[in-house]
């Protein structure tokens, strides 16, 4: 059966953070995490292939606790296995380290036909994980796929090319990156969700923890990047408040729009 690996990352929910431009500080008022939206879409793409043709979908994550929440949600959506990479030093893994770890995971799984990754991260906008992995594996890459079909050792995808959409084909195995909002991810199945959290119906066995030290040497776990701080945009000025009744406000807005659009 075809194996599809989907890396799932988590991202701090921006609804809980405030970037204060005047104080030039970041306030984290509520520390809540989401599945990276593009990764969420990537999982949905994998699950649709599984629904159509049958496949084993393996979700992999390697970020610090409470990362298992991410994987638990992945399992509840329909992933067959979820692998959590842990280990001292691994929590600082950047995209380059994570790509190496994923390669090692795929080798330990005895290969995969397809890796589907979110195209960019919501917070930093970096899109290098999938393509670094493609290079490490020596596999072809399809970037920004809006739809993916895979069968008989061949992949067909639709991606944007300038203003149009084109159909592309590649041989498997391959790495595909999916943009956020390419499609709407399904909601987790209620019964599966309960089973995942209770660890029943084989779900406890589906959630595996692998030690990163078994996959990568200490040198291989060293991140390439160093953070050198933050910067903030200039403070925005508040706009003009429209006074008067709602009707008058409507007329004033119409006039402003007309001027702006030179109607």
């Amino acid at each position: 059966m075809m194996r599809i690996v989907v890396p799932l990352r988590r991202v701090l929910d921006p609804a809980g953070i405030v970037a204060h431009r005047r104080l030039r500080r970041l306030f984290i008022n509520r520390e809540e995490y989401l599945i990276e939206p593009a990764d969420h879409c990537a999982l949905e793409v994998a699950l649709r292939i599984k629904d159509d043709l049958g496949a084993e979908v393996v979700a992999v994550s390697g970020q610090p606790e409470p990362d298992d929440e991410t994987l638990q949600r992945g399992l509840a959506m329909g992933a067959d296995r979820a692998i959590y990479l842990s280990g001292e030093g691994f929590e600082n893994a950047d995209e380059a380290v994570m790509a190496r770890a994923l390669k090692a995971v795929i080798e330990r799984l005895d290969g995969a036909a397809l890796v589907i990754v979110g195209m960019t991260t919501l917070d930093t906008g970096q899109g290098q994980l999938g393509l670094r992995l493609a290079e490490l594996l020596g596999w072809p890459q399809v970037t920004g796929a809006w739809s993916v079909e895979a069968a008989d050792g061949r992949l067909e995808a639709v991606r944007r090319s300038g203003d149009t959409y084109v159909r592309v084909a590649a041989d498997l195995p391959a790495v595909v990156t999916v943009p956020a909002c390419a499609l709407k991810p399904r909601y987790p199945d209620g019964v599966r969700l309960i089973n995942v959290y209770r660890g029943e119906a084989g779900m406890a066995e589906s959630l595996e923890e692998w030690d990163a030290a078994d996959l990568l040497t200490v040198e291989e776990q060293a991140p390439l990047f160093e953070s050198r701080g933050r910067d903030f945009p200039v403070e925005r000025e508040r706009g003009t408040r429209v006074e008067g009744t709602a009707k008058e406000a409507g007329m004033a807005v119409a006039e402003a729009l007309r001027q702006r659009l030179r109607r």
């Binding site: 921006p14 290098q128 959409y165 592309v168 499609l183 390439l224 008058e248 409507g250 807005v253 402003a256």
Partner: protein, 343 residues
């Protein structure tokens, strides 16, 4: 006024660049926009020039394509000290495998210190693979660069959450340092028409692309118009009262209809119409937000809008922090008179 004598004076000081020997240097991979050098490439040359001048290095540009040799002079005019050209029919259309093969072969030999790409589709597809192949670091969507002169590491700034704030990163050890330059972040350099050079043509034999383009995606339903390119956007939210009025306003203004994630949850719009850093980031001339409270995701996505009108009953709604024109009222009370006046 006849200024031809100035041309004559300048022509006498025409600069012809002789390339320096040896590795290193700041390299950039040129992007094409139709038959011309893409603006982002010219902007990247400006950034490369700044870095190279601080490092005491040269700026080299690589141009790949079919029939692209005449474009080399534009790269010299923008500030490149040397240009390498891979002009081959096999490079006529962008594909990762042949382009990467040519670039990796060249850079293995030249051992660049810094490599810049434009953050275009091609640049974003090539840069990670090149960085990985050469063991280099990569920072994407860079909007500003400074140099740490002791380590010669580039400190690159890039937007986080669509520009809510910025993060500064560096790759202190990995070389080359690969960056993708965000379009519009750096100014376009002055094209000095007296700056000229002799490009070096590379002898290349491109490999076959691993991903084959089969043609237009017939049967695939794309989003109607790309929201991110719309010049007028009318967006509704959960508190829009009547989405029909929002649709009428969009129609009246000839605008693209959109919404926030709440409108999508309520079923008013499709996934491709979500204005949100997870969905579409917009930069229209006019953006009208009707009944949108304006969470961080949404507000970051309209950062590029030139003129924002917000209509929301709650005076504390965060959308007003983004708006040029703030209407603190229920949309159902404002929209009828707004539509009537427009009609």
């Amino acid at each position: 006024m006849d200024a031809s004598y100035l041309d004559l004076m300048m022509a006498q000081q025409e600069e012809v660049f002789e390339e320096a020997e040896g590795g290193g240097g700041v390299w950039l991979v040129a992007d094409l926009s139709g038959d011309e050098i893409a603006p982002v490439t010219l902007e990247a040359i400006g950034a490369a020039r700044t870095l190279a001048d601080s490092l005491g290095a040269y700026v080299y540009a690589v141009l790949l394509g079919d029939g692209v040799t005449p474009l080399a002079q534009t790269l010299y005019q923008a500030g490149a000290d040397g240009v390498r050209i891979a002009d081959h029919v096999g490079l006529a259309d962008f594909a990762v495998a042949p382009y990467l093969d040519v670039l990796a072969g060249l850079f293995e030999e030249e051992q660049p210190e810094i490599v810049l790409f434009g953050a275009s589709d091609a640049g974003q597809a090539l840069a990670p693979r090149l960085a990985q192949r050469m063991g280099g670091g990569l920072i994407e969507h860079v909007t500003a660069v400074t140099l740490e002169e002791t380590t010669r590491a580039v400190e690159a700034t890039f937007p986080v959450y669509g520009g809510e704030y910025f993060e500064v990163r560096a790759c202190p050890e990995a070389r080359p340092q690969v960056l993708t330059i965000e379009p519009g972040a750096f100014g376009e350099p002055f094209l000095d028409e007296y700056r000229k050079g002799e490009p070096t043509t590379l002898d290349v034999e491109p490999v076959e692309p691993a991903v084959r383009v089969q043609g237009p995606a017939d049967g695939f339903e794309p989003p109607e118009v790309s929201l991110s390119e719309a010049s007028v956007v009318v967006a509704g939210g959960r508190q829009a009262d009547s989405f029909e009025l929002v649709e009428r306003l969009a129609e009246r203004l000839g605008a693209q209809l959109a919404g926030d994630r709440g409108a999508w949850d309520a079923g008013f719009i499709g996934a491709e119409q979500i204005v949100d850093v997870r969905g579409a980031t917009v930069s229209p001339e006019v953006y009208v937000a009707v009944g949108i409270r304006g969470d961080t995701f949404h507000n970051a996505a309209i950062e590029g809008a030139k003129f924002v009108v917000a209509i929301h009953p709650d005076p504390d709604a965060t959308i007003f922090e983004m708006a040029d024109l703030c209407v603190e009222a229920r949309p159902e009370e404002v929209l009828p008179s707004l539509l009537e006046t427009l009609e």
